[in-house]
């Protein structure tokens, strides 16, 4: 399950909803990761653009990998502005056994950072400044370079 929210994530209600839905489905482990926007470098918050068609296919390929291990992935991400100390990202893995969930959450979050088509901006004085220095080139980038 992948869901995009406008603005900051309602973390408590998302995690409660997921727990409520999945606790009766006989998963023994529910591991989650919540990203919180830090107050640093004079920013008021972060802002995000998302390209949903490729995000969806990227997520679906991970869901397939998880399902092959008996696990299930959940993810929520913000679109637009998220102020300091609010949350922009939650991912979670459900699995019958903890080891699969612990390993998957690590691999999934790392690949998310490298491959998900999401662009981050710092909000400074109400302007969006592309976080170029923290961004990662996607695989096969630069093929149109002159």
């Amino acid at each position: 399950m992948l869901k995009i929210y406008n603005g900051s994530l309602p973390v408590e209600s998302i995690l409660n909803e997921w727990y409520g839905i999945y606790k009766n489905q006989n998963y023994g482990a529910f591991i989650n990761f919540v990203g919180i926007v830090r107050d640093e470098n004079g920013i008021d918050g972060l802002s995000f653009d998302i390209y949903e068609p490729i995000l969806n296919s990227w997520f679906d390929s991970w869901q397939k990998k998880a399902n092959e291990k008996g696990a299930y992935l959940l993810m929520a991400h913000s679109l637009g502005d998220v102020l300091n100390h609010e949350s922009s990202y939650i991912s979670a893995v459900l699995s019958p056994k903890r080891r699969v969930a612990l390993e998957l959450i690590d691999l999934f979050v790392e690949d998310f950072k490298a491959s998900a088509p999401i662009w981050k901006y710092d909000i400074i004085n109400s302007k969006r400044v592309y976080a170029e220095d923290r961004s990662t080139m996607l695989e096969n980038s630069g093929i149109l370079k002159g």
């Binding site: 653009d49 296919s57 998310f112 976080a131 170029e132 990662t136 093929i143 370079k145």
Partner: protein, 73 residues
């Protein structure tokens, strides 16, 4: 005409291009200094699949997307 869209921080309106091979985009953007900066670090998707080669046929209804470096979370 195929459509080219510039995602995220590239911040340009989409354009339509009359090309039959993806490699022709290189020639089209040759003198565009601003876009050259982005081409060096952007991935290219055709109809929402990222490609690894320019040896790809382009049809009139195809969508080409340029994806600059990402940072979710």
């Amino acid at each position: 005409m195929a459509k080219v869209e510039f995602l995220g921080p590239i911040n340009r309106d989409p354009i339509e291009v009359d090309i039959s091979q993806l490699s022709q985009l290189k020639e089209l953007f040759k003198n565009d200094d601003e876009i050259q900066k982005w081409l060096a670090n952007s991935a290219v998707a055709v109809n929402d699949s990222i490609v690894s080669s320019l040896d790809i046929k382009i049809s009139p209804n195809d969508k080409i997307s340029l994806l600059p470096p990402v940072c979710g979370g």
